[in-house]
């Protein structure tokens, strides 16, 4: 349609950002921001961080398809999923400090709703393994009162929705080998080496 001047059709990137920021703010004020997310570049790649009003609910590694991660959040929590970095400022800051070796413990609230039952019990226990230390799958199973459930502990760790912040990378095989990791064994080794270096 020649009737429309191009200037009316155009929507600049800066204008889109400004409008989006306005929407984020209004959604937060109205209590409609069920899931906020942002990405964060780290030494182990670009992470996707998502939070509910209760706390950090998901940390996804670069190799996970972020569209799929968002679809899962939409299905499991609420379709009111919006890119809204504001709510994730604190989580992002702590993760950055962790990778800069200026933080050994996370304080940001975590929302473990994506993990249920025994798995959730295991995850809730993980922060008791301190920075630079490791525990075996079997030892952790015993600690939650189910000695012999090492395999189930492995599954709990593999399905940890909030890796790094909930430190499943500190759970290793009883022979000391690293074992599996959602972010890849190399990443697990890199995190453990970083922590071991103090």
């Amino acid at each position: 349609m020649t009737i429309w001047p191009e200037a009316m059709q155009e929507v600049g990137a800066a204008e889109r950002e400004r409008l989006h920021a306005k929407l984020e703010e209004a959604a937060g004020r109205a209590g409609l921001l069920d899931v906020a997310y942002r990405t964060l570049d780290t030494p182990i790649g670009r992470l996707l961080l998502a939070a509910t009003e209760q706390g950090l609910v998901r940390v996804a590694f670069a190799h996970e398809d972020s569209d799929r991660v968002l679809e899962e959040l939409s299905r499991a929590i609420s379709p009111r999923v919006l890119r809204a970095p504001g709510r994730l400022d604190e989580a992002a800051r702590e993760i950055e400090e962790y990778f800069a070796r200026r933080r050994r413990e996370f304080e940001v609230p975590v929302d473990l709703r994506l993990s249920k039952g025994f798995r959730r019990q295991v995850l809730a226990r993980l922060p008791t393994i301190s920075y630079g230390k490791t525990a075996s799958y079997g030892a952790l199973a015993a600690a939650v009162g189910h000695p012999g459930a090492a395999r189930a502990v492995g599954t709990a760790c593999a399905t940890n929705p909030v890796p790094i912040v909930v430190p499943c990378h500190r759970v290793v095989r009883s022979d000391g080998s690293p074992g599996q990791y959602g972010g890849g064994t190399e990443t697990k080794v890199a995190l453990l080496e970083m922590e071991a270096a103090g």
């Binding site: 020649t2 009737i3 001047p5 059709q9 989006h20 929407l23 968002l70 679809e71 009111r80």
Partner: protein, 169 residues
């Protein structure tokens, strides 16, 4: 959640339809209130989104919300927001009407001078790309009436444009 059916994350809705909704808001409200209407539209959409029936035409749904927001906006601001139809012509900065620069000075006065039904039909069909049946569902009346309103609106805009081109040195 209604039926437990899958719905894409709302952010995708904003990404996919944000520009169209802004163009519609510009055409309905003009430069001054368009951005407010845009965020009000998406905020209302975000609120209602979990109840939206999966498989719905999301764009038509958003246009319906923008339509209501524009009516609210017009009521709230009275006639203040609308430029007078007899506003003197302001040449576009480039001197080439409709090519670049300011649709605010070139097109908006002509759009604002249209009867509301025509302006809406033009915006929803020619800017948002809704078929006339969908336009009719938003504005009321029949598809034929929507088609007529859009055609009359476009004819009036063309005429206004020719007038302003003739007046230019």
């Amino acid at each position: 959640m209604a039926g437990g059916q899958e719905r894409e994350p709302f952010e995708r809705v904003v990404e996919r339809h944000g520009n169209t909704v802004l163009r519609v808001c510009r055409a309905l409200i003009g430069p001054d209130g368009a951005e407010d209407a845009w965020s009000e539209t998406f905020l209302a959409a975000l609120r209602a989104y979990p109840r939206l029936r999966p498989g719905s035409n999301v764009e038509a749904w958003l246009v319906t919300i923008a339509h209501r927001k524009a009516i609210d906006h017009a009521r709230a601001s009275g006639s203040r927001a609308l430029p007078r139809a007899d506003l003197p012509e302001v040449p576009s900065p480039t001197g080439v009407p409709g090519e670049s620069g300011s649709w605010e000075s070139d097109l908006w006065p002509a759009l604002a001078a249209l009867p509301a039904k025509q302006r809406q039909a033009v915006a929803y069909h020619h800017l948002a790309g809704l078929p006339y049946a969908e336009v009719a569902a938003v504005v009321g009346g029949s598809a034929q009436a929507a088609r007529r309103a859009a055609a009359d609106g476009i004819a009036a805009l063309r005429k206004a444009r020719q007038r302003s081109e003739r007046r230019r040195p």
